[in-house]
């Protein structure tokens, strides 16, 4: 079969679908619902992988109070800063005080990160200003640089004021960063946040440490914890992404579980298309026999059936995955637990994977009905 003939047969399959509107609409709606669920689950899995999977470019360690997992209970003295800078393999250190509106699992978490204003550009030079002014942030006590995802979710822009977790700030700029965590928080001055949260001026929640190369992450983490082991406030140091996985492990476990829901949704799509195509083929026994009488070989009839299944899968996939990505883009969900946050964003990879899966499921679901349509004797079919 030449490509041009295959295209014509696909066009014929498309006419069969578009001219049986109600049946096609109902099938597409069902497939779309399944693929919506699949795409949401897949987006969650992607977000989780992005937040927890360590890559070659990951250079950041988080130094936390040993055996503490919530920002409200991790308290480290700020004088650790100089000690940390002296440890071999450390390039840069920034003390951070974290205040959150909710320490438990939440879909609408607000995180303030209090940092010394002069250290932020040094520690995270890849943070880019989307709007507002960095100077305005340095010169105001209650100014906040807000991550763009957080700003979009709350509808914030430079000049707005908002309050959460008992802290009221003015937005002086929006920022964008390759590090997903930065896009979901509000950076404020460390002394301001210490006062606003009534934490002592000499106390922070954690230190973020940038190491010289990613191959030394574990060695530096061990060196840090060894250094403070006998201090009154011993530390526990992890790579940033491992820290997220550890701190938000209930959240991680729940999201990990959702992969079964995604698998169930894919199986439901398979069953729905298989049922729809089987009914189509059963209702078209004589029509397929007429095509064979006209000279259509069995493989052309099979191709028409698989084509209809594939188009149903692809159409429903486009509907469901598109709706899911629009839904996630519109709502900008931010999952949080124990002060760790994870944004669930619409992603091209999910679009491609979802559409590909829908196409394959549609084609596979139509394979058996296609085989039946191909093999049925013509004369017997004409008599039905």
């Amino acid at each position: 079969m030449t490509p041009s003939v295959a295209l014509r047969l696909l066009g014929l399959a498309g006419k069969q679908l578009s001219r049986h509107r109600v049946r096609t609409f109902l099938t597409l709606a069902g497939v779309g619902a399944g693929m919506f669920l699949f795409a949401v689950v897949e987006s969650l899995q992607q977000a989780l992988a992005r937040a927890t999977r360590l890559g070659a470019n990951d250079l950041t360690l988080v130094v936390y109070r040993q055996n503490r997992f919530c920002p409200a209970t991790s308290r480290l003295p700020i004088y650790y800063l100089d000690e940390l800078r002296r440890i071999d393999g450390v390039r840069e250190v920034i003390p951070i005080l974290i205040a959150v509106n909710n320490c438990g699992a939440s879909l609408d978490i607000v995180t303030f990160r209090g940092v010394p204003p002069d250290l932020l550009p040094r520690f995270a030079p890849d943070i880019a200003l989307v709007s507002g002014s960095y100077e305005a942030w340095e010169s105001t006590d209650d100014g906040a640089l807000v991550g763009e995802h957080f700003a979009a979710r709350r509808g914030l822009k430079a000049g707005d004021a908002f309050d959460a977790a008992g802290v009221r700030v003015r937005v002086v700029g929006l920022i964008r960063s390759p590090n997903p965590q930065d896009n979901q928080v509000a950076y404020v001055h460390l002394p301001f946040l210490q006062k606003a949260t009534r934490r002592g001026l000499g106390e922070v929640t954690q230190f973020n440490v940038r190491v010289i190369d990613s191959g030394r992450l574990d060695a530096v983490a061990r060196a840090i914890d060894d250094r403070f082991r006998s201090e009154p406030e011993p530390t526990q140091t992890h790579p940033e992404k491992a820290f997220f996985a550890e701190g938000a492990r209930e959240l991680v476990a729940m999201i990990d579980f959702t992969r079964w829901i995604g698998l169930g949704a894919a199986l439901a799509v398979f069953g729905l298309v298989a049922n729809a195509v089987l009914l189509i083929v059963r209702g078209r026994v004589r029509e397929n026999a007429v095509l064979q009488t006209l000279g259509y070989p069995g493989r052309a009839v099979g191709f028409l059936v698989v084509g209809e299944g594939s188009l149903l899968g692809l159409g429903g996939g486009a509907l469901g995955v598109g709706a899911a990505l629009a839904f996630l883009g519109w709502n900008r969900f931010l999952f949080g637990s124990e002060g760790q946050t994870m944004a669930v964003l619409p992603e091209t990879a999910v679009l491609v994977r979802g559409m590909g899966l829908a196409l394959v499921l549609g084609a596979m679901a139509a394979a058996w009905p296609a085989w039946q349509a191909m093999r049925r004797p013509i004369v017997e079919s004409l008599r039905t």
């Binding site: 030449t2 041009s4 003939v5 014509r8 047969l9 014929l12 006419k15 069969q16 001219r19 049986h20 004589r286 029509e287 007429v290 095509l291 064979q292 009488t293 006209l294 000279g295 259509y296 070989p297 069995g298 493989r299 052309a300 004797p377 013509i378 004369v379 004409l382």
Partner: protein, 231 residues
């Protein structure tokens, strides 16, 4: 022998039998038949006499249990499924009693169906479909769906579909069996014109003596055997 003297269809000692439950049914028994090129042949006989089975065997949509069926000197009974389909596409146009148009396709799209497998350019395809519809007098109805056509018009669309690929053989199974008298006359006139003016070989199964009257030759079948008529 001059190749044009070879019958278009030659059946030799053809037998067809199949099992229906416990019973062995034999609708065709030791049949010998030649259909010369360009002939309009009518097959008549009571129900169950085997005329539709014979038509299906000649059209290559069924296979004989034994015997030989030659088309233009070439045996077709042993062709593989795929080769037989390709052979049908090139050599046979089939006209059904109940038209069997695809209901969701327009008259144009129904007639176009046999050409979709041929890698001919779109423009040529369109011209051939329009010509076939013009020949059956339905050029003005080409964008109508079967539900918008009368029975006679539907059968004429089916005839256009049968001739669009220009096959040398047309087979028609009771083509007027579901039509009123006027529509039947119109369809028979069309088949007669295709035979006379376009030199198509036509084999038609019918119960209707008026339909058989337009054929060049009428053969009667009874219990799977041929009884040659007087005409």
């Amino acid at each position: 022998m001059n190749p044009t003297d070879t019958p278009l269809i030659r059946c030799r000692d053809v037998r067809k039998s199949y099992r229906k439950g416990e019973t062995l049914v034999t609708p065709i028994e030791s049949l010998h038949l030649d259909v010369p090129r360009g002939e309009f042949l009518a097959l008549m006989g009571p129900s169950g006499s085997g005329k539709s089975t014979l038509l299906n065997l000649m059209a290559g949509i069924d296979r004989p249990t034994s015997g030989v069926i030659e088309f233009d000197g070439q045996p077709i009974q042993d062709l593989s499924r795929g080769h037989l389909a390709a052979w049908r596409a090139r050599h046979v146009g089939y006209i059904f009693q109940l038209y069997h148009l695809v209901p969701v396709l327009t008259a144009f799209e129904n007639v176009e169906l046999p050409l979709l497998l041929d890698p001919m350019p779109r423009r040529e395809r369109r011209e051939r479909v329009e010509a076939a519809l013009a020949l059956v007098g339905l050029a003005h109805r080409m964008h109508h769906f079967p539900r918008e056509l009368s029975g006679g018009e539907e059968q004429r669309v089916a005839i256009a579909r049968a001739i669009v690929a220009n096959p040398p053989l047309l087979v028609a199974d009771e083509p007027t069996g579901d039509l009123d008298r006027d529509a039947a006359d119109s369809v028979l006139g069309l088949l007669r014109a295709l035979s006379r003016d376009h030199r198509r070989t036509i084999v038609m199964v019918t119960h209707d003596p008026r339909a058989a009257a337009v054929a060049d030759r009428v053969l009667h079948l009874e219990k799977g055997r041929l009884l040659e008529g007087a005409r």
